[in-house]
Symmetry: C2
Subunit: 581 residues, 2 copies
């Protein structure tokens, strides 16, 4: 096996073209081993094997620097730059992350998990090189799907004015996560169909030089193209047409399903583990499908992650014109739903907590200043969500809840969640964000409120004394356990509160607690800094009330274990008990 002797790109350069082709097969087999066992981004990585080999054959990493957008196409690069054990050795999977990572290798310049950033980051490297009067090529690799994000466009526009070596490899596999959306994809098609020759060329229209490689899975063509642009003294786009999922028929036949895939059986392509029973995504989808049928003014908007809330291809078809995926374009999505709401319809936009980060200004300026009554669903906003450093869902409370005018709600179970969603869609007074519950679906047999227009009314679920526990969203359930433990230990029942509103204080209820409580505990599923509990602490600041805030430390964590992280942050029933008693 050639891979046996390849520990860095230098080793690769010793092979001839035929051997490189065999190497491509070995890389696919290595990726197959990892992904069939632990899952990961499949399609784009299988498509970019040959291009990665050709890049490392022609360029001289790490003197030449390659930046892979969003990291969804970096696996072959990782295999060729000293991290093959993470693919070949089943005991080493967890030693290698699914993203580029400078802590792992000098061949990675950045830790990247969000799309559309590679051009700007790499352009910075090129600029740094020139300020230092250093040498070397800088190469940004970006997929066609990532091109629709505003940051990528800003980067390309600025790159066109750059005076120096800069190479942009556009890896065009004609797919985003799902199908591409946006006018630029018509132009990419024209470019593919005209072998890169059509006069109206998006990249040239942006002021960039351009070459096209029709077969982006052919190593000799790729080597030729990269040799042509190596040491070029101006910016150029190398547009390569690759096949997403190449080398595995299930993946090429169903590209959306195989963008990312959970562990699977290689023979059949079937999932190794079937996810069981209900999920908040499924509940959301079921509700929205029914709601859209009953009301033609309701519309659902997603940003390249339709299945995030269950909008698989069949559901999208069924929803028809009431469903819109805008592609990777979160900024547009928020302004768009603001406009929809402003003109009397009922939009719901959903994305992951981590991608809501892209929309702070749009939430504030386009949505909230204008008080547009759109509904925003914030998904996987939890310590129980994605756990890699690039996709953490623990920062959205400070992000969203400190913006004026928005009502940010934290439901604690399915019934409450759906009641809030229904209320939000039908009301016209506020922009509303809902922090979708995360993890095991919880139910209640108690009646939940239907109307949330009397803002910032907390719900006291157990009225007790001495200690009051305010458990926000997912952490309400930890609060309930703490309450039970206190009752058992002291014989005195504490008060348990479901605050529901992240964006405001129920001053009346908080004031009333002063009568027969000495201690207030807050619990929130996210970082403490800038969050919910600190507002409660501030409220009680001038009083005798003792306040204990529980939540996560402000830090970037990577591939954490939930129980360990909670324990490190003192969020266990035992630790809380020992703090307050």
């Amino acid at each position: 096996m050639y891979l046996d002797v390849i520990n860095s790109p230098d080793d690769l350069k010793k092979l001839n073209v035929e051997e490189l082709s065999d190497l491509a097969g070995e890389i696919r087999a290595a990726m197959m081993n990892r992904l069939s066992n632990i899952g990961g981004h499949f399609g784009s990585n299988f498509g970019i094997v040959e291009a990665t080999i050709a890049m490392h054959y022609v360029f001289n990493s790490p003197v030449d620097k390659i930046v892979f957008d969003v990291s969804h196409q970096c696996y072959p690069h990782k295999i060729l730059t000293g991290r093959k054990h993470g693919y070949l050795d089943n005991n080493s999977f967890d030693k290698v992350s699914g993203f580029t990572n400078p802590d792992e290798s000098e061949h990675d310049m950045f830790n990247i998990g969000h799309t559309s950033t590679s051009v700007s980051l790499a352009l910075g490297l090129a600029r740094g090189r020139d300020l230092r009067k250093a040498e070397g090529n800088v190469i940004a690799v970006i997929g066609d799907g990532s091109l629709s994000g505003g940051e990528a466009f800003e980067g390309l526009d600025c790159a066109a004015e750059f005076e120096g070596n800069f190479i942009i490899v556009v890896n065009d596999n004609d797919m985003s996560i799902a199908e591409n959306h946006g006018g630029i994809y018509k132009n990419l098609r024209k470019l593919r169909e005209s072998n890169g020759m059509c006069e109206c060329n998006l990249f040239r229209a942006m002021g960039l030089d351009y070459i096209y490689v029709a077969n982006g899975n052919d190593i000799p063509s790729l080597i030729k193209a990269f040799e042509e642009v190596r040491d070029i003294t101006h910016p150029i786009v190398v547009h390569i047409n690759t096949l997403k999922g190449k080398g595995y028929s299930y993946a090429t036949e169903n590209k959306e399903e195989w963008h990312w895939h959970s562990p699977f059986d290689v023979e059949t392509g079937k999932n190794r583990y079937t996810s069981s029973g209900e999920s908040y995504d499924g509940i959301t989808n079921e509700y929205l499908m029914a709601k859209m049928k009953n009301d033609e003014k309701v519309t659902v908007v997603t940003a390249s992650l339709p299945t995030n809330i269950g909008f698989t291809e069949d559901k999208r078809r069924e929803a028809g014109r009431q469903f819109i995926d805008v592609g990777i374009a979160e900024e547009h999505a928020i302004a768009f739903v603001s406009g929809i709401a402003k003109n009397g319809a009922k939009p719901v936009f959903a994305t992951h907590s981590t991608f809501m980060q892209r929309t702070f200004d749009q939430l504030s300026h386009d949505l909230c200043i204008n008080k547009s009554p759109a509904t925003i669903l914030v998904n996987t906003a939890s310590v129980y969500g994605m756990n890699d450093i690039g996709h953490l869902g623990i920062y959205d409370i400070p992000l969203i809840s400190n913006i004026p005018e928005i009502v940010y709600l934290a439901p604690t179970n399915a019934e409450e969640y759906l009641a809030m969603l229904e209320w939000s869609i039908e009301q016209t007074a506020h922009p509303v964000a809902i922090r979708m519950p995360c993890g095991k679906v919880m139910h209640t047999d108690k009646e939940v409120d239907k109307d949330y227009s009397d803002l910032n009314r907390y719900r006291m679920d157990m009225s007790g004394c001495d200690v009051a526990i305010i458990g926000l969203g997912n952490f309400y359930h930890i609060g309930k356990e703490v309450a039970e433990a206190i009752r058992k230990k002291t014989g005195i029942a504490p008060t348990l509160i479901n605050p529901r509103y992240i964006t405001g204080l129920d001053k009346e209820m908080l004031e009333s607690l002063k009568k027969n409580h000495k201690t207030v505990i807050t619990l929130e599923d996210g970082i403490l800094d800038g969050g919910f509990g600190q507002k409660i602490a501030s409220f009680y600041g001038p009083s005798d009330m003792k306040v204990y805030n529980y939540g996560l430390k402000k830090e970037f964590v990577d591939r954490y274990d939930v129980s360990e992280l909670l324990d490190e942050n003192g969020i266990t029933v035992d630790k809380i008990l020992s703090d307050i008693l």
Copy 2:
């Protein structure tokens, strides 16, 4: 005067083409009256007079809906839609804002102050119209300068897939705030030079239909073009070439200076009031010019607001390749400086607090996860900064300070500010943001620290007892006054602390205060929610310390008076004294 009888667009429709041309002159005179007296956005508004007349002549607002990007070209629209008194009557200037504003008129759909949002917002209106099965044209107006912002690109890309009436008027005056930057402007030039006929067309490359109006200041041509696209059933770009500042020679000769202008003498074009003495912008510029001369690795990056930190045309020329303006592209700017820092050079990026909002994800993901040691200057981050609802500088503490890894500093005077800036540029361990002081330049004769690498060390400027005052940044000076007042009133000297670090607590010092203090006061120049003081309150939550947090309520305020706003928020020496004594 025709304007006398024009109270709505309906009145305009009664005039003939010649009369419309006279009306254009009257509108310019009205704008001249307002702007020469109170200042405002000059160039784009003077350029778009004819196009606005033609739009209101052809379309039927408010059934047809026009959305003006960033509002810098909405003055003629405001004059024609019932708000001429804000331009003609010197006693009514303050009754009409400088931005579109739905509270003023049904002809304004949104309150807008940031660029690059009109296409997405308007596309939402069009979508809302169709979901409601309603009628009418929707028109987005966007300037060429705003096109470089990522949100605009995302909007255009999505607009190309829209199935229904949607008109995008690109008002191309060949200028951003300063000159345009980016590859797309080469294409706009080609389009102008080819009368819209060149094959390689940015808008067509994005999948949009397109027509060109060579003389965007000629009412008949404009009426013809708008009549052609009225009731069109698909999206189309109407690219019009206008003259920025048209009708006033000083403005057409010096477009950058006249983008926005302070009150001036109409005869001479000279400022009515000369700004006196030193400013933090000027100090910053002087420092950076010298620094760049001494160190070729230092580079300054701005996003279309170079004069924000004193980089006027001559300074930009002098700085040469060490200065880069990226155009309106804040997202790119942050990723770009992250890359520059990662590759060993020393970048400084500066923009207003309100525009930093566009970069939350880039700060977190591109900069901070990667610990790139770039320097970010946050300008006009203060209640003393811009005071209109679209440009408030009071939200950046929750925005920036809750992101892990960044060091956000709040200097209290010029010497401390420059020491922090010097330290930040030279250190390589952290991404650093500095909240530029705002308002009157303060000086100290005390020595300031040079090294800030021992993070989160507060500085105790006066050691006293009972009460400790922690005054952050600009509000340190209020804290000092409070300290003095307490000493006078009680005879007991309180403790006064300059915390300097917004992003962390000096736990040792805070702990030590418990010994001989009963009360801690925090003061911050921004909203309280998610900010600095609430972290202090949380720290002392389980203790006996009484904590009073002073800062602004989380709300959107508009055209406020600083003293009134501070008074409303209880931030006066008297009120603070009466709270705590």
